[in-house]
């Protein structure tokens, strides 16, 4: 540390999150654009988790779990909206469309499912984390 005069030691010089944010972003993009369901879901999970982590680490959020759930909500909403654009007016066709997802529906579903998983993860950890903290 002495070898860095003039450089502040006040901030952390290491963080695992940037790498994960980047990889999460890359995977979600590939998964969603190419319509590869598992990659899209996994990528969004990683992205959401690491964004929550990096926000908590840098002090923008008090604890990661609520952020995680919030992000999940946003993704779920986006995915649902994407699916909604493709649904026929009545809900009759819903099952068919889901069973045989065309391009847009499949992608929307992936985003929505990942979002829901993030919400679930955030909510459980919030409860679990709180009880542990006390």
């Amino acid at each position: 540390m002495e070898e860095q005069p003039g450089l502040s030691d006040q901030y952390r010089t290491a963080s695992p999150w940037p790498l994960l944010v980047a990889v999460g972003f890359a995977l979600s993009e590939v998964g969603v654009f190419l319509g590869i369901f598992p990659v899209a879901v996994g990528g969004i999970l990683l992205l959401g988790g690491s964004v929550a982590g990096i926000l908590a680490e840098s002090g923008y959020a008090r604890r990661p779990w609520r952020t995680l759930a919030l992000l999940g909500g946003v993704f779920a909403g986006l995915g649902a909206a994407l699916v909604a654009t493709q649904l026929p007016g009545s809900s009759v066709g819903l099952l068919e469309v889901v069973a045989d997802p065309n391009g847009v529906v499949g992608r929307g579903l992936a985003v929505a499912v990942a979002g829901a998983m993030l919400v679930a993860a955030g909510a459980t950890s919030q409860m679990f984390g709180r009880s542990q903290q006390v």
Binding site: M1, E2, E3, Q4, P5, G6, L7, S8, D9, Q10, Y11, R12, T13, A14, S15, P16, W17, P18, L19, L20, V21, A22, V23, F25, A26, L27, E29, V30, F33, L34, G35, I36, F37, P38, V39, V41, G42, L45, L46, G53, I54, A56, E57, S58, G59, R62, R63, G103, V104
Partner: protein, 605 residues
């Protein structure tokens, strides 16, 4: 199909579990609490000291948010990309030794050509500049680090996935490399059924996001993190060019990103943005692409111009001539560069009045470029020149930039362009700039700052060999290309076995062979370069002199070398203390590894 999905799902699951394992190894979750609640003491030593030392080994590089480390990562990445792109270029040149194509098939040639261009511009050019700016801008402006160190790291880590995606077509089963050329013109790029193209577009998109994040960070850093005694009036020239470059990136790259997303949608989801006869039509792509593409060439050339403006005076024993005007011309180029994009489209049948106005602005942009050139020459005029390797590369830069710039002015004139468009003349023009100028400035910067970054000196004789081989090789290869353009040789062809009634085939072949000879010289030069850098880094004796270029004599010891001097001084003063001082820091991180930060630093840096 279903089983493939299952396998993928399982793989993703394993991967995510691996991530969690990695996190639990690296991360001390409790260390957050002290940060949030403000008091460092709450959790005792662990929370307060962890991560203050850099973790050891590979984890350090995976988790670093230190601007110098990130600069090194960018640099390593850029050099690797330069090697890949360079070998592709070499293959291209070998192919064109014979009219019927000497080495590979036509489709593979197309794929390699495409990938060469994209690799050099997006994976070498932008990142290698970021290497310099990350390492040195904070030092030059007296900042502790970048304004947003974590975003800085995110921007870097988007690049490796970007590169993998861009190259994926070559090695993934069932795909081939994209054959779109780096300009990705529609309808070709929209209709080429090959998932390799999608992956390449996604990879490009990632590199664009990365560049944008980096640009925001540099703007914020230069505006807000300057030391008190660094004002706008005495801000160094390299920082000025990075600031301008970042502004250009901010306007250009998001546009490329959107255009690419539209192309992806056209390809995968049946939209018709660029479809023939619908929407914007294929010409829309050209407008969007070149609205990005021309600023991109200045995004690539401005910081190298800054490097040369910074380094050249140091070895001329004089101040940079007309500093203010160099700054003004940088800003002028930045603004004008958004008003010239249609000079790439003179032959597409756009309105002649538009053509004329784009011609006028394109000619105008030569003026600020010439201002810089004259300032560099005047700086050297009557100076006390010292022909060190970085200085040689600076002079080579000026010389090559003149050739590249003058040929650009010719191309900017509509009637000339109508003859030369899409010939090798254009290839010669921009390679004089991207290789002859940008490449040379990068080398100048690498050699100039080598002692700071590595604490060692490169081997001077090898540096000279590198310069002369590069200078000769560049001028042989790319002058031959200008000549090929005059002979009417179209660019991008895998073969040129023309009917000799329409082309002087002997002369064309000879010129191609000359270009390939130049490529051999270039390759040898770059091998020497890599050897020199690696071997000197590992084995050269440490440089204790804080002023290896004798800049104090002329009062040109820059801020970054002053920082270097302080670093050497504190390292010496600490002497034997070091072992002990670090041990208690070292214990905290991982418990097992007690190597001192300083020791691992001097080994890695």
């Amino acid at each position: 199909m279903v089983s493939a999905q299952l396998v993928l799902t399982a793989l993703m699951g394993v991967f995510l579990v691996g991530v969690v394992a990695f996190l639990s190894r690296v991360e001390d979750w409790r260390s957050y609490t002290p940060l949030v609640s403000g008091g460092g003491g709450g959790y005792g030593d662990t929370g307060a000291t962890v991560h203050r030392e850099k973790p050891a080994g590979i984890t350090r590089w995976l988790t670093t948010v230190d601007h110098k480390d990130i600069g090194l990562l960018y640099g390593t990445y850029g050099i690797i990309a330069f090697a890949v792109g360079g070998l592709m270029a070499f293959l291209i040149r070998m192919q064109l030794i014979a009219p019927e194509g000497a080495v590979v098939g036509n489709s593979f040639y197309n794929a390699v050509l495409t990938s060469h261009g994209i690799t050099m511009l997006f994976l070498f050019g932008t990142p290698i500049i970021a290497a310099f700016s990350n390492y040195f801008i904070p030092l030059l402006i007296g900042a502790d680090d970048m304004a947003f160190p974590r975003i800085n790291a995110i921007a870097f880590w988007l690049l490796p996935p970007g590169a993998l995606l861009i190259w994926a077509g070559f090695f993934l089963p069932g795909m081939e490399g994209a054959q779109t050329a780096w300009t990705m013109y529609t309808p070709l790029s929209a209709e080429q059924a090959n998932a390799g193209v999608d992956l390449m577009l996604l990879g490009l998109h990632l590199t664009g996001v990365s560049a944008t994040m980096g640009a925001i960070n540099f703007i914020a850093t230069i505006f807000t993190e300057r030391d008190d005694d660094v004002t706008w009036a005495n801000l160094d020239i390299f920082s000025w060019t990075i600031l301008t470059q970042s502004a250009l990136i901010l306007f250009a790259f998001p546009l490329l990103g959107s255009a690419i997303v539209m192309l992806l949608l056209d390809r995968n989801l049946a939209t018709t943005f660029y479809a023939v006869g619908e929407g914007g039509g294929p010409i829309l792509w050209q407008h969007l692409f070149w609205f990005f593409g021309h600023p991109e060439v200045y995004i690539l050339v401005l910081p190298p111009m800054g490097l040369v403006s910074y380094i050249l005076p140091k070895f001329s024993g004089r101040k940079l001539f007309g500093f203010k005007f160099i700054v003004y011309s940088t800003l002028a180029i930045g603004v004008l560069s958004f008003g010239v994009w249609a000079h790439h489209m003179f032959t597409t049948g756009i309105d002649p009045r538009l053509r004329a106005s784009f011609m006028a602005v394109s000619l105008a942009i030569a003026i600020p470029s010439a201002v810089k050139t004259f300032n560099w020459i005047t700086t050297m005029w009557n100076g006390r020149l010292r022909l060190t390797t970085p200085m040689l590369f600076c002079i080579g830069f000026v010389s090559n930039f003149i050739l590249g710039g003058v040929t650009g002015v010719f191309l900017a004139s509509v009637p000339v362009d109508k003859v030369l468009h899409d010939t090798y003349y254009v290839v010669g023009h921009f390679h004089y700039i991207v290789m002859g100028a940008i490449g040379f400035a990068v080398f100048a910067g690498l050699y100039y700052w080598f002692p700071i970054v590595t604490g060692r000196m490169y081997q001077r004789r090898l540096g000279k060999w590198h310069f002369w081989l590069s200078m000769l090789g560049t001028n042989i290869t790319f002058f031959a290309m200008l000549f090929l353009g005059y002979l009417g040789m179209p660019r991008r062809y895998a073969t040129y076995d023309f009917n000799s009634a329409i082309a002087p085939l002997d002369m064309v072949t000879l010129a191609h062979q000359a270009a390939s000879v130049g490529a051999v010289l270039l390759l040898i030069g770059q091998l020497i370069f890599v050897w020199n850098i690696v071997q000197s880094w590992l084995e050269a004796p440490a440089v204790e002199d804080p002023d290896p270029w004798d800049l104090k004599e002329t009062n040109q010891h820059g801020r970054e070398f002053q920082w270097h001097e302080r670093r050497i001084a504190t390292a010496l003063a600490d002497g034997g203390e070091e072992e002990e001082a670090v041990t208690d820091g070292g214990k905290v991180v991982d418990g097992a590894n007690e190597t001192s930060d300083a020791a691992s630093d001097s080994a890695d840096d």
